[in-house]
């Protein structure tokens, strides 16, 4: 499984601060941070620790199998972000 971030994300970076494996992007200061409409969890890296869920002030993070139906798009969206956004860009910062 993995955790996913849904569209009600406000880009508070509380989740990034607590993620032990740095799998939430883009990070403040990264070239694509300002233009990103939300943060995304890399499903390849997420270790399902739950820390981000606790930290999120607007409850925008769910375990993939518990994601409410209206956010059904979110798992694919999180995956796509990491496939489509350039990793070089993200790690350059």
């Amino acid at each position: 499984m993995t955790y996913v971030i849904v569209g009600s994300c406000i880009k508070d970076d509380a989740c990034i601060e607590v993620c032990p494996v740095d799998c939430i992007h883009p990070r403040p200061g990264a070239p694509d941070f300002e233009t990103a409409e939300q943060l995304y969890i890399d499903p390849q890296e997420c270790i399902d620790c739950d820390a981000c869920v606790e930290a999120c002030p607007v409850d925008a993070i769910f375990a993939d199998f518990e994601t409410p139906e209206k956010y059904g798009y979110a798992l694919e969206l999180n995956e796509q972000f990491f496939k489509e956004a350039s990793t070089i860009e993200r790690t350059a910062a």
């Binding site: 569209g7 880009k11 508070d12 970076d13 409409e37 607007v58 972000f81």
Partner: protein
Amino acid sequence: MAGVGPRVAIVGAGPAGAFAAACLLRACGNAEIDLFERLPTPWGLLRGGVAPDHQEIKRLDDAFDRQTLRRGCRFFGNVQVGVDVSHAELMRHYSAVIYATGAQTDKSLGIAGEDLPGSWAATEFVAWYNGHPDYRELQFDLSARRAVVIGNGNVAADVVRMLTLSAAELERTDVADHALEALRESRIEEVIVLGRRGPAQAAFTSTELRELGALDGVDTRVDPDDLVLDAVSQHWLAEQGTFTARKNVELLREFAARPARPDARRRIELRFLSSPVQIRGSARVDAIDVRRNEIVRADDGSLRARAVDGDIETIDCGLVLRSVGYRAVPLPDVPFDERHFVLPNERGRVLTPAGEPLHGVYAVGWIKRGPTGILGTNKRDAEETVSRLVEDLDAAALPQPPNPEREQIDALLAERKPDLITVEGWRAIDGHELESGRNAERPRVKLASREELLVAAGVAQQR
């Protein structure tokens, strides 16, 4: 004075002010912070801007409460700095003042007919449906069949949803009662949304756009011809387009490919490359004239809309909401940058017209950087400003106010504002609204007039 932290006034208890207070308390645990707010209630656009059907975002008020008011930060509501208490007076009572007043007005289109009855700033409609006490008396005529929304940002998306949600859906939100009543009677069947630039440049987030396409009983249409991208946009999308821009184009293509739904309760039509040229009507709005644009690359590399010569289309409508951006207004007795509509500042330190730091005066949020970004953007913005304040504190560069005791500002406020709302008053309002909400099976029932709010806070008598 060991153990006594800096006394800081934050002007404006919206998200920027709240993030600044929370951040300052993290950086400097003994800071004594007073949050000044013009309204009787805190949290600014979280309460008065975020759409009522986005309750999950409004939940941020818990974090604000926990990180500020529950940590000893005081709330001074119903006090207008510059009117009830001056900047100079604040400087006599605090070692630092952080302005977090946001952007309180809207940009205009600058076209004929904009001032006709029936033509509004979307922000006025937003404040009205969210129960902002200064907007309660506005009368939106929702008796026409068609409304036109100008703009392609998230405020535009919010007002489009509010015009198209069903009464049953609205009843599950904390939309203000006066707005719920009016929206229930609304005869609007179609909302046309005009974007100046093309689908690739639309400022919607993909989340907001997806929502517009997923409304129950609403047929959301896009003309497939509008989605044929010009060469400039195609190149831009492939080379520089953001993830959001690519998602938006993908979603719009999905909308365009859907079969029409003649049985739908309401329709939304998204039109691109369209600019309003004038609003028509004698006594009130009857129609809007729209011209066609094309995308061109400007000298600075940005993509701009340029008018195409040709026919002007007239769209009949009875309501026009323009959503083309917020704008800040100058504050009494502090410098203002009239070109960028912000307090002139260097990473949050407010500057004099000569470019020197104005000691002890800071800015955060929209009044600092202009009306950009989303809620969380204010957190980083607050960190930047608070870092400057803490640097100045450590360098002993903050002014020494002549009246630094809490009791001194309390006495001044007691004299000027007998109907001051403190945290207890706000808790009484909040408790009242939440309880009414529980009884009505709604998240909250807002008190939407200043009088009701003051009575609930226990600082005024019912008339």
